[in-house]
Amino acid sequence: MANKELAEFLAHSVELESEAKERYEELADAMAQHHNDQVAQFFLRMAQEVSHHLAEVSGLAKGMELPQLRAWEFNWPETESPEAASYEALHYRMSLRQAMTLALESERAAESYYRQVADGSDDAETVRIAGQFADEERSHAAELECMLLELPENGANLREDDDEPHMPE
C-alpha cells in the first residue's frame, strides 16, 4: 500500500499529463481548423510526446489507490495545471516559433512544479519520482531549445492572412 503523499503526488501527475495531452490535442485541432497546418502538426507531435509521459506516470500509479479529486481540488501553483498551454498566448496565425516558445514555457512550468514537489517532500519515494519527472521535463525543454535554435528568427511574426478577420464595413 503506497503512502498518502505519494498517492496524492501521482494523482496530480496523472492530471497534469492528461491535461497537457488534451490541451495539445485541442490546440492541434483548432489550428488545423484554421489551416495553420505547420503549427497543428507541431502541437499534435507535442501531444504524442506527452502521451508517452502520461503512460509512464499512469504505469507507476497502476495498482495504487489514488485520491479522486475534482478539477478545483488539485493544488497547482497557478490557476491551471502547469503543463497546459495558456490560451492567452494563442493566435490562429501564430508561427511555429511562437508555438514552440509556448510549448517550452509549458515544459519549464512542469519541470518547476515537479522540482518544487521533490524539494518540498519528506517522503523519499516522492522525492525520487518527482525528481525523475523534473529531469524528464528538463530533457523535453532542452529538445525544444535546440529546435528553436534551428528556426529562423523571422518566424516570430504572425503569419500572413489572405482573409483578415475585419471585413470592410
Partner: protein
Amino acid sequence: MIDVIKLKAKDYKSGIKPIWCPGCGHFSVFNAITKAMAALAISKDDTVMVSGIGCSSRLPAYVDSYGFHGVHGRGLAIAQGLKVARPDLTVLAMGGDGDGFSIGGNHFIHACRRNVNMTYIVMDNEVYGMTKGQASPTTALDWDHSKLTPHGPGVRPFKPAALALASGAPWIARAYSGNPNQMAKLIVEAIEFEGFSFLHVMSQCITFCPEQTDWKAIVHEREEPALVDADEAAKLFLHEDGFQTGLLYSEQRATWPPAAAVAVSEDAVAQLSASFRV
C-alpha cells in the same frame, strides 16, 4: 466526502471539433462545463444544453448530451419551457453577450424574475465575434476597433450582474476563462442551486479584442462569502471593478412555476386527455 467519478470530463465531449479561434475563451468554458458534468457524475441522457446564436452558442454541439441550437436571443425561452415541461432534466442555457443582453435582453430580465430552476451561462467577450467584431451591449463606450463605431459606441455598457440582480436573479456568479477550474466549481454550484443561476463568464475574444489577454492580470477572486442581501449586492455590483470572480450573490427564493400551479396544470392536462379519450 468525495463521490466516485465514473466518467471523465473528456467523456462528455461529443467529438465534434470546435471551430472557435485558437485562444478563444469559449474553449475554457467548454472544458469547465465537461469538468462540472464529470464532477456531478451527471447523466448525459438527462442533461440538455440550449443556446441562441453566436460563436459561444455553438457549444451544445460539442457536448455529448441533448442540445438545442436555437434562435438568436431565444435560448432562454426554449430552456425555460423545457425545464417547466420536464423538471426532471438538468437544463443549461448558454450564449454570448449580444445574444443574451441585446437580442435576448428581454428574455434575460424575465428569466431572472421568473426564477425557473436552471442555469444560464453567458460567455461575455464584449463583442459580436461571429459577424466579425462589432460593439455589443457590454462593449466599453470608447472601444474603437470596429469601423462601424470608429469613435467607440459612445454608450455605457451594461453591468450584467447589476442587471440580473435588479431583475430578480437569486444566484449570480462571475468566472474568467483563464481559470477553468474555478469556473467548473461554480458551474457545479449553479446546477445544484434550486432556482435560476446566472453565471457571467469573462471569455476573451483573442481575434477582435486582443487587449482582453490583459484580463489575466486584473481578475481577482472573491474571498468573502457570497452576499445574501440584495441591497448589499446592489452596492457591490454598481461600484465594483467588474473583475471579481466567484459566487457573488445567492438568496433562496421560490421557483417558478409554484407547486400548486404544477398540480393544477397536471390536473388540467389529465382532464384534457380524458376529454379526448375514445
